[in-house]
């Protein structure tokens, strides 16, 4: 077990270097001279030279990369081209909103997806099963930015129950929860659908297994078999899907934040992409990708922990 974790951590370090290199290179190979973006249209050639020297843009690219990594390790992600603010600070002030949204969506996704999938499997081919699998397919197909707009239209514009957007109150207050409900449903729907599909097929597979038939044959009640014997084994692949979905949700916050005007990392990224503000794009993409691989690593470890049959050799 410890060997597995050690091996995975080592791989993680390499992967993080790879990610940072890829992100760094793609920003540096992008057309457009950062000096002209910072200097603006009025900058003279000598101004531009001064900016280039200050940013170290005349150094070989590998040296620039190593400088960047040295900064990243110390928590310095550089400065925005647009307003010269520290990228780390901008991210730090916005990240709580993004994390808040991602976790709330995860809760929505699990609370809807897992029970729906299990009931579907137990009552295979019933009306519940047919409608829930069809709704799940629709849930995967629905554009979440549109779903968000529709929810706003119904619950904020027509019924006026919930606020149109924004996320600034803490989530434990009534106001914070009200602000969180629509964005969490918007972002969580697709994940709920994926989790439901996975739970259903995992449960179906387990229910047909020999040991379940044995348990029934020796007289264990049906409910006990389903909720005690089958569920534990069916949840193993579901946990993987839930873990992978957390990364997916982190990526999805980018769009949802835009719909609900939430000042999170995603909006920061979109604005930076439009303005070609490379240090901010670099910092935000690096953050989301890093979180994603770390979550995946945790899922892998948990997976090996709950299912001793798994070995990663």
């Amino acid at each position: 077990m410890l060997g597995l974790i050690g091996k995975r951590l080592l791989q993680l370090v390499f992967l993080l270097f790879g990610i940072s290199f890829l992100v760094f290179m793609s920003m540096h190979l992008a057309p457009g001279d950062p000096a002209t973006i910072i200097g603006g249209p009025t900058a003279t050639e000598s101004d531009l030279d001064a900016i280039r020297a200050e940013l170290g843009l005349n150094n070989p690219i590998l040296v620039q990369y190593l400088d960047y990594i040295r900064g990243v390790v110390q928590g310095d992600l550089g400065y925005s081209f647009q307003n010269n603010q520290s990228v780390s600070e901008s991210i730090a002030t916005r990240f709580p909103q993004t994390l808040n949204l991602a976790i709330a969506s995860m809760v929505v996704a699990v609370l809807i997806g897992v029970p729906a999938g299990i009931i579907s499997a137990i009552k295979q081919n019933s009306w519940f099963d047919v409608s829930s699998t069809t709704i799940a397919l629709a849930g995967i197909s629905i554009p979440n930015f549109w779903l968000g707009a529709m929810l706003i239209l119904i619950f904020s514009v027509e019924l006026q129950w919930l606020p149109v957007g924004g996320l600034n109150a803490p989530f434990w207050t009534i106001e914070g929860m009200k602000q969180l409900i629509l964005p969490a449903i918007t972002l969580g729907t697709a994940s709920a659908a994926m989790i439901a599909r996975m739970s259903r097929s995992a449960m179906l597979e387990v229910i047909r297994a020999d040991y379940i038939r044995t348990a029934r044959a020796k007289g264990v009640r049906k409910n006990v078999v389903v909720w005690v014997h089958a569920l534990r084994n069916a949840m193993i692949p579901v946990i993987t899907v839930i873990g992978l979905n957390f990364g997916f949700l982190l990526g999805g916050t980018i769009i949802t934040e835009q719909v609900f005007a939430i000042n999170g990392v995603g909006r920061l990224m979109i604005d930076a992409i439009a303005a070609r503000d490379f240090p901010v794009v670099q910092g935000t993409v690096l953050l989301v990708a890093t979180l994603f691989v770390i979550v995946n690593l945790l899922v892998d470890i948990i997976y090996a922990f709950i299912d001793p049959r798994i070995s990663y050799d």
Partner: protein
């Protein structure tokens, strides 16, 4: 002696092979048509293709022509059955031309992605020496969740619809490469491949003529499902202002523009969203149906 009426053994063999292939296609089609949801999906896809190909015939107005005297007409208005937007552009005509854009972007990005993914998957599955490097590269691409990789590429290339196609195609590469590699690994150990090798066939010939045809089933399923993702992501990126730029009639961009008029003209947001959902749903259910239809383990009922 072989006159014109008798077939040579080679022709017989070719015919047999052809008919076997045909049988396979007919069998798959029959199974697919038994699936009601898949049939529903197929119908929607066919409608989209017809609208896309003959867009000028179905559109009643020029999709980008403004007519400010008729702005923000509601659904069912005279001459504009789906209403008009804030510039007086006919929503139906924009939906029709949007169908063309979404189909083209979908086919373009999935096609390019398949090309890259199949090439990488074949090479890494077949040549052990290259496997490690290629798969580490694929792992690296997998480290970016969902749409983030596409966004990084757009950040690099700039915002435009063509760049969206490139971005989504690159994002399709890792999954496709893994699928193809998996199939290649299981196929290359089979005896007939070893036989081809011992007969002196070149690697290229073995890969293209013998290995690739055996990976078609998973590739077809992947491509269909990927069309759904590609169309959805194009709309999402355009919604964010990173894809199609105004006045292009693109569904995601239409929703973004319509959001400002949600209080007065909600149909500007509702209609393109339904279009996206229907098409994405269609590709998803057909993909699901194809997976079941192409699965040899499902042969029991035949």
């Amino acid at each position: 002696m072989a006159d014109s009426n008798t077939l040579t053994s080679e022709q017989v063999y070719a015919n047999k092979k052809e008919s076997k292939k045909e049988k396979m296609i007919v069998k798959t089609a029959k199974r697919l048509l038994k699936n009601k949801l898949a049939v529903f999906g197929l119908i929607i896809i066919i409608i989209q293709v017809i609208l896309a190909v003959f867009a000028p015939l179905f559109a009643t107005y020029d999709p980008i022509k403004q007519d400010l005297t008729n702005a923000e007409l509601g659904i069912g208005s005279d001459g504009h059955w789906l209403g008009t937007d804030n510039y007086g552009r006919d929503v139906w005509s924009r939906i029709v031309f949007g169908a063309r854009i979404s189909l083209l972007v979908g086919i373009g990005s999935v096609g390019l992605g398949l090309l890259g993914g199949i090439a990488l998957g074949l090479v890494s599955g077949y040549f052990k020496k290259l496997d490690g490097i290629i798969m580490r590269f694929v792992d690296l691409l997998f480290a970016f969740p969902g749409i983030l990789l596409a966004m990084l590429i757009i950040a690099m290339l700039g915002t435009s619809l063509v760049n969206v196609v490139i971005a989504i195609s690159i994002w399709s590469i890792p999954t496709c490469a893994r699928i193809v590699r998996g199939s290649v690994l299981s196929i290359k150990k089979q005896e007939y491949i070893l036989a081809m090798k011992s007969l002196g066939a070149s690697n290229f010939r073995i890969l293209v003529k013998h290995v690739l045809p055996n990976c078609t089933a998973p590739i077809i399923v992947f491509a269909t499902m990927r069309m759904a993702t590609a169309i959805l992501s194009t709309a999402a990126l355009s919604f964010l202002g990173l894809g199609a730029q105004p006045p292009t009639a693109e569904w995601g961009a239409m929703i973004a523009a319509g959001q400002d008029f949600m209080f007065t003209s909600p149909h500007l947001t509702i209609v393109p969203g339904i279009a996206i959902m229907l098409v994405v749903f269609a590709f998803n259910v057909v993909g699901d149906g194809l997976r079941d239809a192409l699965d040899p383990n499902m042969d029991l009922d035949q």
